[in-house]
């Protein structure tokens, strides 16, 4: 009887499953920051409508996103860890990469700033001051500790500061996404490194309940560029490479770049369009990729953003 009831229920439910099966599904392996900031939710209706697609994403850290993509379990990769991205391309897993947008990282911490990083000359110096205050028991630092892009940058800054904070009493590894890490930092009144997007979104959602502030920002080390990577269709024949290319085109087109620029959280812009602007923001040239994508855009009847038109 119970079995019959569950069976009936299951059949009823399975036939009323509203998921459209006719639309082509795109699976983006991406980092928590593009999801937590709400950007992908914002872009989805525009992309879905233009290409009659169903855009979905896997909410992962950059490390896991790259691992999942390299097994062929996603159609396209949107992450922010240049070294791992280059390694991914070098191993033949990906065919094209372009920096599509950027924002920056900020160091946040308790308002009373026990490590006095407000006046630090750079991110490396700020980290040194946090370590010093940590050693004398005045503060804590919460790390993502999840092999994500943010975590990778954090480790890079620690090593530039000549420090290995792991397994120190004042250093905690959350092993979670950016939002969770920020919330843990707030509870512990600790410092942490966050991308601006997630910080602004979480701050607007939690307000005063989040007892942290931006204490250091603006250093060039803290630049956070996001790379979009097309997977190698020869290596991964089962992925939806056609729709993945459409997503790439959408992101580097005038429309996509404008949408990224117009996205606001609590009135603040959190992502800046970067296609064709690599050198302007201090990154290595991407001239070859930019030329390739301009060609593909015009072949697909799409417009490039105005700032790359003149090339």
């Amino acid at each position: 009887m119970v079995v019959a009831a569950i069976l009936t229920a299951s059949i009823v439910f399975s036939t009323t499953n509203p998921t459209s099966t006719t639309r082509s599904r795109l699976v983006i392996a991406t980092t928590t920051s593009t999801v937590d900031s709400g950007l992908l939710d914002y872009l989805k209706p525009y992309f879905d409508k233009r290409f009659d697609a169903d855009m979905t994403w896997l909410y992962l850290g950059t490390g896991q996103a790259i691992a999942v993509a390299s097994r062929g379990d996603a159609d396209i990769l949107l992450v922010h860890d240049r070294e791992k991205e280059d390694a991914f391309l070098a191993s033949g897993n990906g065919t094209h990469r372009a920096t599509v947008m950027y924002n920056d990282f900020v160091i946040i911490g308790p308002a009373n700033d026990p490590a006095n990083i407000r006046g630090a000359g750079g991110a490396v110096e700020a980290f040194k001051r946090i370590a010093e205050a940590g050693r004398s028991g005045k503060t804590l630092f919460v790390s993502r500790g999840d092999n994500s892009g943010t975590h990778a940058l954090e480790m890079k800054i620690w090593s530039a500061a000549g420090l290995d904070p792991r397994e120190r009493g004042w250093y905690m590894e959350a092993g979670q996404g950016m939002s969770s890490t920020i919330r843990i930092s707030s509870e512990k009144q600790a410092y942490t490194l966050s991308d601006r997007g997630t910080w602004v979104k979480l701050k607007s959602a939690l307000g005063e309940a989040l007892r942290l502030q931006i204490l250091f920002e603006g250093d060039k080390t803290l630049l956070n560029p996001y790379g979009l990577i097309l997977l190698n269709p020869v290596k991964y024949p089962k992925i939806n490479s056609e729709l993945a290319e459409k997503f790439f085109l959408f992101m580097v087109s005038k429309e996509g770049q404008r949408l990224i620029e117009s996205y606001r959280v609590a009135g603040e812009q959190i992502f800046f369009p970067a296609f064709g602007k690599a050198e302007d923001i201090g990154l290595p040239s991407e001239e070859e990729e930019v030329r390739y994508w301009i060609k593909r855009l015009s072949e697909n009847g799409l417009e490039p953003p105005p700032w790359v038109k003149q090339r």
């Binding site: 119970v2 439910f13 499953n17 097994r71 979670q176 939002s179 089962k238």
Partner: protein, 263 residues
């Protein structure tokens, strides 16, 4: 009521502590009665995945449990211990193993099951199966051995004997399904990994709660949690009702009434 407070986009009103739980409750009622399509879809997916996982896991686990309980064989204690251990299978481990197996470059990659509701069902039924088997073993084992003797002495063949014992243990078997369903519907570790929490496709109540919590949308997260609890309560209430009805034991009938058995 409270809509302005619940709507947090403006960032004007922020909630703390019990207020969030309260507005979560308000929001849950609102979501249930407004029939928000996303919430309806997520709820249906959870019910479909966990319902089918319980059904299939039960259909395999209950006979397995009965077999183990009623037969005497070498290594029976070991088998029972293994089943009991597997009753506490960590969902995240199940998820990881299925991810590796179903990954497109994995041994079962050709099935194209990763990030589908079917993969979620597979992972959950793997957890339900040992629970169903374990609870069946313990409830069949506690039946008075006299019933078996009576049945055999009255000429029951092995199949009839098994049927009688399972009927006698039916309250326990219902419990197996209740416990299995409870474990499945509340589980997040496995379906997050093999389902991928894809919007409109594999997003279930528990995985949506994780995402909303990470995004700081606590009121919505609590609301989905309340829907989840309500579902679990309803399923349990139905099964408990069935259990109460079937309490009048066959064994008791044999001893208290005249023997009216047909075989």
């Amino acid at each position: 009521m409270g809509k302005a407070e619940v709507e947090k986009k403006g960032g004007a009103n922020h909630l703390a502590g019990w207020e969030e739980v309260f507005y979560g409750l308000v929001k849950a009622v609102e979501l249930i009665f407004s029939g928000d399509p996303d919430v309806v879809q997520i709820t249906i997916l959870s019910l479909r995945v966990s319902g089918l996982a319980t059904l299939i896991g039960g259909a395999l686990g209950i006979p397995l449990g009965a077999l183990v309980a009623l037969r005497t064989f070498r290594g029976k204690t070991l088998v029972v211990s293994v089943i009991n251990t597997l009753m506490g299978l960590p969902p995240v481990l199940v998820g990881l193993v299925y991810y590796i197996l179903l990954s497109s470059t994995g041994p079962l990659g050709f099935l194209r099951l990763l990030y589908t509701p079917e993969a979620m069902i597979l992972a959950q039924l793997t957890m339900v199966l040992p629970i169903a088997a374990g609870v069946t073993i313990s409830s069949v084992s506690t039946i008075d051995p006299k019933l078996r003797e009576v049945a055999v002495s009255l000429g029951a063949n092995p199949l009839q004997e098994t049927a009688i014992l399972l009927w006698e243990a039916r309250v326990g078997l219902l419990t197996a399904l209740v416990v299995g369903f409870g474990a499945a519907i509340s589980e997040v570790g496995a379906i997050m990994i093999v389902g991928g929490n894809l919007l409109g496709y594999t997003r279930a109540l528990t995985t949506a709660i994780v995402l909303l919590t990470n995004q700081g949308e606590f009121v919505e997260a609590i609301a989905l949690g309340i829907i989840l609890l309500t579902l679990a309560f309803l399923v349990n209430a139905i099964l408990t009702l069935l259990q109460m009805r079937s309490r009048s034991s066959l064994f008791a009938q044999i001893y208290t009434r005249e023997p009216r058995l047909k075989w």
